[in-house]
């Protein structure tokens, strides 16, 4: 069975404490193969906890000694914060609606639903209504003053939207925790 380097990082880190050790020393002490020691030590070097003194000989760096003193348990990652938010993948209802907005430019909710909704979508009207509301608040859409007349006697008519800020092909995402819209095209977050 192949065991990756991350599995043995911690045992190698603590075995190196205070001394410079060779591969064979570590193999004997930890009862691991040359490959396992080599992989584990390489991970420690990459993460800055150990340094290679000569071929096959390792010792802890200041950071490594501090990690041992603190009793840290090392993990394989993450090594740095994510630089960019993950764009939604696939043709979701919101992505299709955004594509439709870019094409139609001016539209009612019904136009959007007719263009973007598919059979499997759950309650597309509600979902698109929320999305349009969020985009209006964030300044991507503008609501026209004049409503489109409805055919029902008590209808208040339908809002007509206009896309006024088309920043690119990826649909903006709503972040509920921050109450904001995140634009994947520009990397900006707009508070609502």
């Amino acid at each position: 069975m192949t065991i990756s380097g991350e599995t043995h990082m911690n045992s190698i880190l603590y075995a190196l404490d205070g001394h410079c050790k060779t591969l064979s020393d570590l193999c004997e002490e930890l009862n691991l193969s040359n490959r396992q020691i080599s992989d584990g030590a390489a991970k420690l070097v990459i993460q800055g906890y150990a340094e290679r003194i000569s071929v096959g000989c390792f010792q802890l760096t200041t950071g490594g000694r501090k990690a041992v003193a603190d009793g840290c348990t090392l993990t394989s990652g993450p090594n740095a914060p994510h630089a960019k938010a993950k764009a939604p993948k696939g043709a979701t209802l919101r992505q299709r609606a955004w594509n439709a907005m870019r094409i139609l430019q001016r539209f009612t909710l019904a136009d959007l639903q007719m263009t973007a909704a598919r059979e499997g979508d759950k309650n597309p009207e509600n979902s698109l209504n929320k999305f349009c509301g969020q985009l209006v608040k964030a300044g991507y859409l503008r609501v026209n003053r004049k409503r489109v007349q409805g055919s029902k006697p008590t209808s208040n008519g339908f809002l007509k939207y206009q896309l006024v800020n088309c920043t690119g092909e990826i649909a903006p995402s709503y972040r509920a925790n921050a109450a904001a819209i995140y634009d994947h095209n520009t990397g900006e977050e707009v508070s609502l």
């Binding site: 043709a91 909710l109 639903q113 007719m114 973007a116 055919s151 095209n185």
Partner: protein, 257 residues
Amino acid sequence: MKPNYVKTANHQRFMDGLDALEERGADECRLLVVDGLPGLGKTTILSRWAADEKCIYLRAKTEWSSYWLLEELLTELRVHPPFGYAKRFNAAMKALGEQAHNAEITGRQFAVVIDEADHISRNGKLVETVRDLADIAGVPFVLVGMGRIRDNLARFPQVASRTSRFIRFEPADLKDVKFFLSEQCEVLVGDDLAKFIHKATGGFNREIREAIVAVERFGFLNPPSSPNYGLSLADMAGKHLINDRKSGQAIFVPGAA
């Protein structure tokens, strides 16, 4: 009106045309021409397809030049348009190639849709630019126009011969009109009224939708005399349905035959 997309015979014609594009014999036949009179649902069908497949959708303008076309194409491709025709053309080639490659990986159909392409079809330079882009980048172009595009393109045999298929949108027949009414109208419509709507609208989607609004306005206030049959000619006799597209005259519903 129910916001349902209706898959009419024109929808099927367009899907058949796309299949023909996929199964074309000659590799350079990368142009698809869609034409038909205004109000037949060309833009609705094309925009739905383009939104689904994440295609590039451009609307041609009266004063479009090759340079302006490339600028809009690059903007849609999220590439800052450089100055100079050659630089723009090369940037468009590169970006189109990347998009086509991504679409191939994800199994999507990728094309550039140019709506109101009549403006292009009259201009030799623009036609040649589209041909160059389609040929060199290997990306299909869908040209959508209003009837004259086919005749205009006939002036450019090198382009006409690269057209994989001409798709002509036709007015809806009675079956399609009934399908429209059943899918979009919130009031049940009887056969005789459906036949009159077909006759009065000439099978144009735009007019059919207007007629649906008129039928709904009347039907919500005046339920059909026979609920199982639906709203009939007699029910709506004398009511305004639509305006005639040629004369602008109001068309009123006649009494029962």
